[in-house]
């Protein structure tokens, strides 16, 4: 079973029989359990920390404070503004302050209560507006100006002129509440230092390579002495693509005590670690000419970043850079501020930085089209950007199956017969489209080395071993490697061992983020396998095993080959032009069907049809899984996800009972379609499928609500009380209209 076939996942059995090891399943003799003490204040100076009572508590073996790990880290080299434990200051409720390692978890928890921290509470800023208005309340010293993590202003063409001359202009403000990843597996890390000074850290991380680099720097150990292993991982979605406090704490404590140390975050701590979707306030202007073509787009975005930068530099760019397809724009401008605030830090969540602006854009497009009486499907077709074209901001779009996506969801949903108020009051259809990157040209830290490397080894028995640094976070990259091997070398994909994400053993892969893995690791794996295939071909043999033996005999050495993916030079020739530039883009279209109870505001997504152009489905089952999971996550954000804080920066409800994700009974029927545009650059034509399919869900739902009952909702989540309020306003407008007509 090779490329394009529904090969069952290579790790299916160990996940099905319960034998697969996730990080918390790993234990060692004499292992200590550590717990982190966190700040109850949103912003405070630490005057002193008294550990004496904790250190004396029965079962406690060691403690740790920030001054023992003062080196700053952060996933983006230009904004390294975090320390493992607070040094001098805490910047959000839940910020890590001290750590205790004990013989068991209960003792560690009890000892934490005995730590006395003397805080000097400082004024805090909890909204990006306040952060802008009060530069004197400095959340994070990394900010050069006030509390600004990053300001981006980019303009392409004469936007104001185009808007002034336009036939229809939609100009509104949109609000996107913050949401978080909620992987079912909380963060966990285990560290062990051997007597020769080699440190090993097992961690539930998407970025083993970056964690290795940061551990090395912060601990002052040569990188060659630090080994990071990613075991099976229970969901990430971008929430595990930063280095985290627990990784540094277990490492340092393992060094201090000479014993293995484990930290497993409680569910509450996962909320404080956060790195979720940034709240955004977006002032969007979208102008159409009288034929419904997009004349101009102007977006001013205020982004709430939380206390640390994380990927925030990139967010400030993505908020604007990723909107320039699948439709063509004549002119474009965006201005984004990413602000520091005294709350848990935001970061990359599936569809990083572009889900929020895409929501605003797709609703604005519908609205402007409606002003001209143009059907939402039609306006999207009319603005199709094409294939092998450059966007207004210098991104090269290669393959583009967006029209086919629209066609499929239009057909499957019965759009023509059912949209436009035809389903009766309280029921409607909505459409939305989107585009997303398949990895970026930007390797996070500048270097000339490949972003991905794969090593393939053949054994005389016919067993193939693939060494890949890529993080399989459940999306199935390890399975794809087996299929690529089978495709190129004609081996049995079930006789492939994948050794993954172990920095001692596997080549570097930068990590599972920005949907880079299928594209980049796929190309690297194909390259390696093709080299070996040539040798096997030359050697000949009746079976694969025989070919391996003959080729090894010919080689006079074990048969192995490597492949790599080198970052291409991509993107517009301006500052920030590489951010958002991708070797290939995926495209998605959704139609959502909703029903709205106008008496209560309670609404329901009945069904979502989603078509996604992934270039080539290397494994259709896995691609469908990504589409369905993405659509689910988008619908969830529209329905019920929000991080809400009180006036002191305390997060309401850091639990899975309070922060709700949909159960089976809350999830709409999902009908997914795979479109293949066969990208010339991607491995076998493949592009991403892990994040793109999320984007249209939210605007499709908003547009469907409009079809159902004539209201435009511009604020997430679409709580029933907001819907009801808009319905009342609609009725009041209607009543006033009738009055005027009558008088």
């Amino acid at each position: 079973m090779s490329i394009g076939e529904r090969f069952p996942k290579s790790d299916g059995v160990v996940k099905a029989d319960g034998s697969g090891l996730y990080t918390d399943d790993i234990a060692f003799p004499r292992m200590l359990h550590a717990k982190i003490l966190r700040s109850p204040h949103a912003h405070a100076r630490i005057r002193s920390i008294d550990l004496s009572a904790a250190e004396a508590y029965p079962g406690v073996v060691a403690t740790l404070v920030g001054s023992e790990l003062p080196a700053k880290y952060g996933v983006i080299p230009w904004t390294q503004d975090e320390t493992a434990l607070a040094v001098e200051k805490v910047r959000h409720v839940g910020d890590a302050v001290a750590c205790v390692a004990a013989l068991d978890e209960q003792a560690a928890d009890e000892a934490l209560r005995l730590i006395r921290v003397d805080y000097e509470v400082l004024p805090s800023v909890l909204t990006p507006e306040d952060a802008l208005a009060h530069p004197e309340i400095k959340v994070n010293e990394k900010a050069k100006v006030g509390n600004i993590t990053k300001h981006v202003h980019l303009q392409f063409g004469e936007v104001d002129e185009a808007v002034a001359g336009a036939a229809a202009v939609a100009r509104e403000t949109y609000h996107y509440a913050g949401s978080t990843h909620v992987p079912i597996e909380p963060h966990c890390a285990v560290a062990r230092m051997d007597a020769d000074g080699n440190l090993t850290v097992w961690s539930s991380t998407q970025i083993p390579h970056y964690v290795q680099r940061e551990l090395s720097r912060v601990l002052g150990l040569p990188q060659s002495r630090v080994r990071v292993i990613q075991p099976l991982l229970g969901g990430a979605f971008g929430g595990k693509s930063d280095p985290f406090a627990l990784e540094f704490c277990v490492a340092k404590l393992a060094i201090k005590t000479g014993r293995p140390v484990k930290i497993l975050y409680t569910r509450e701590e996962v909320f404080y670690a956060h790195r979720g979707r940034h709240p955004m306030k977006m002032d969007v202007t979208l102008a159409l000419d009288r034929d419904g073509r997009i004349a101009a787009v102007d977006n001013r975005i205020l982004i709430d970043g939380g206390a640390y930068a994380s990927f925030g530099l990139v967010t400030a760019y993505y908020a604007g850079q990723l909107l320039t397809g699948p439709y063509r724009f004549g002119t474009y401008r965006f201005d984004s501020y990413r602000m520091y605030t005294n709350k848990p830090p935001c970061g990359p969540k599936r569809g990083h930085g572009s889900v929020q602006p895409r929501f605003a854009f797709e609703v604005a497009l519908d609205e402007a089209a409606a002003m001209l009486g143009i059907d939402p499907m039609e306006v999207r077709r009319r603005n199709f950007i094409g294939e092998f074209v450059e966007t207004v901001n210098g991104q090269k779009i290669t393959s583009n199956g967006f029209l086919k996506c629209l066609e499929l969801v239009e057909e499957a949903s019965g759009w023509k017969e059912r949209h436009g108020g035809k389903l009766g009051r309280g029921r409607g259809l909505g459409v939305a489209g989107s585009m997303y990157i398949s990895g970026t040209a930007y390797p996070v830290y500048p270097n000339e080395m490949p972003q991905s490397g794969v090593l393939v080894k053949l054994d005389r028995s016919g067993r193939v071993a693939i060494f890949s640094g890529a993080s399989d976070i459940g999306q199935g990259v390890n399975t794809l490697l087996c299929q690529i091997a089978a495709e190129e070398m004609h081996c049995d994909p079930r006789e492939v061992t994948v050794v993954a994400a172990d920095t001692d053993l596997t080549p570097v892969d930068l990590g599972a983020y920005s949907s880079r893995v299928t594209y980049m690791v796929g190309l690297a794996a194909r390259e390696a396998c093709q080299k070996l295939a040539a040798k096997l071909q030359a050697a000949g043999g009746a079976t694969f095993a025989e070919a391996c033996q003959r080729a090894e005999a010919a080689e006079g050495a074990p048969l192995a080959a490597t492949g790599g993916y080198r970052t291409q030079k991509l993107g517009g020739d301006y500052r920030g032009g590489t951010i958002g530039a991708s070797p290939a883009y995926s495209f998605t279209a959704h139609v959502a069907e909703v029903s709205v109870d106008e008496e209560t505001g309670i609404w329901k997504v009945e069904k979502i049809w989603a078509a996604h152009d992934c270039g080539k489905a290397l494994n259709p089952t896995l691609v469908e899984g990504q589409i369905e999971g993405s659509v689910y996550m988008g619908a969830a954000e529209a329905q019920m996800e929000e991080m809400v804080y009180d006036e002191k920066g305390l997060l309401f409800g850091p639990s899975l009972l309070d922060y709700r994700i949909p159960t089976s009974l809350d999830t709409p029927e999902l009908d997914s379609f795979i479109v293949e545009s066969i990208d010339p650059g991607g491995p076998y034509g493949a592009k991403e499928a892990g994040e793109g399919p999320l984007h249209p869900a939210i605007p499709a739902i908003a547009n469907a609500i409009h079809d159902a009952c004539g209201i435009r909702i511009r604020e997430l989540p679409f709580y029933p009380h907001r819907i009801l309020k808009l319905l009342r306003e609609r009725d009041a407008r209607g009543a006033r209209g009738k009055e005027r007509a009558a008088s």
Partner: protein, 191 residues
């Protein structure tokens, strides 16, 4: 050393004697005392279902009903016969539920799935040919963040012999021109 008492647990058909404090939960006893790491900690307070195990009174027939081990005290599990995910497979290999989950793509990250598979197993034990609403209801206490539940339902239906796995083929999109190049000129480049 914490004050502990000796308890006897029956797990996957085997009796175990362990010394645990009164506050030890069944989940902790399974994972840390018995090394049965298949049951997972997702929230540790009964909100997510990742710790689901099957339980029945000792001596009762069948595998039992789905309960949450993270909020069950280990001492209170003494009168029960417990089945964990490790106890589902037999000498013939994987249970049909496990096989179907693996084959249908219901396992992405896999973390919620031991609990999910056990809830599904309990459903099929009690109701061998469930309707889709019955499947959804039976799994409504197991949160999944990866799959959107779609392939999970499919796997349960496949395990119940109600259908075979989905086989919808991808659709090819042909080379598509831009809608027009007059109004909004865009640079083209060779593929």
């Amino acid at each position: 050393m914490r004050l502990s008492a000796l308890i006897r647990l029956n797990v996957n058909g085997e009796d175990h004697a362990l010394a645990v404090p009164a506050q030890r939960t069944l989940l902790e006893a399974l994972r840390y005392e018995l090394g049965l790491i298949g049951s997972k900690q997702g929230c540790d307070k009964g909100d997510c279902g990742a710790c689901t195990v099957l339980a029945r009174p000792r001596g009762a027939a069948g595998r039992g009903e789905a309960i949450l081990s993270c909020i069950t005290l280990a001492h209170d599990a003494q009168e029960l016969a417990i089945t964990t995910i490790e106890g589902l497979a037999g000498p013939q290999g994987l249970d049909p539920v496990q096989r179907a989950f693996a084959d249908c793509g219901a396992l992405q990250c896999g973390f919620c799935q031991p609990g999910m598979m056990l809830s599904a197993r309990a459903l099929l034990d009690r109701n061998p040919k469930p309707t889709l609403p019955q499947i959804k209801e039976a799994l409504s206490g197991n949160l999944c963040r990866c799959t959107g539940y779609t392939k999970i339902y499919e796997a349960v239906q496949v395990a119940a012999g109600l259908r075979s796995p989905a086989q919808r083929a991808p659709v090819r999109s042909e080379r598509a021109e831009a809608s027009d190049s007059v109004a909004q000129p865009v640079k083209e480049f060779a593929p």
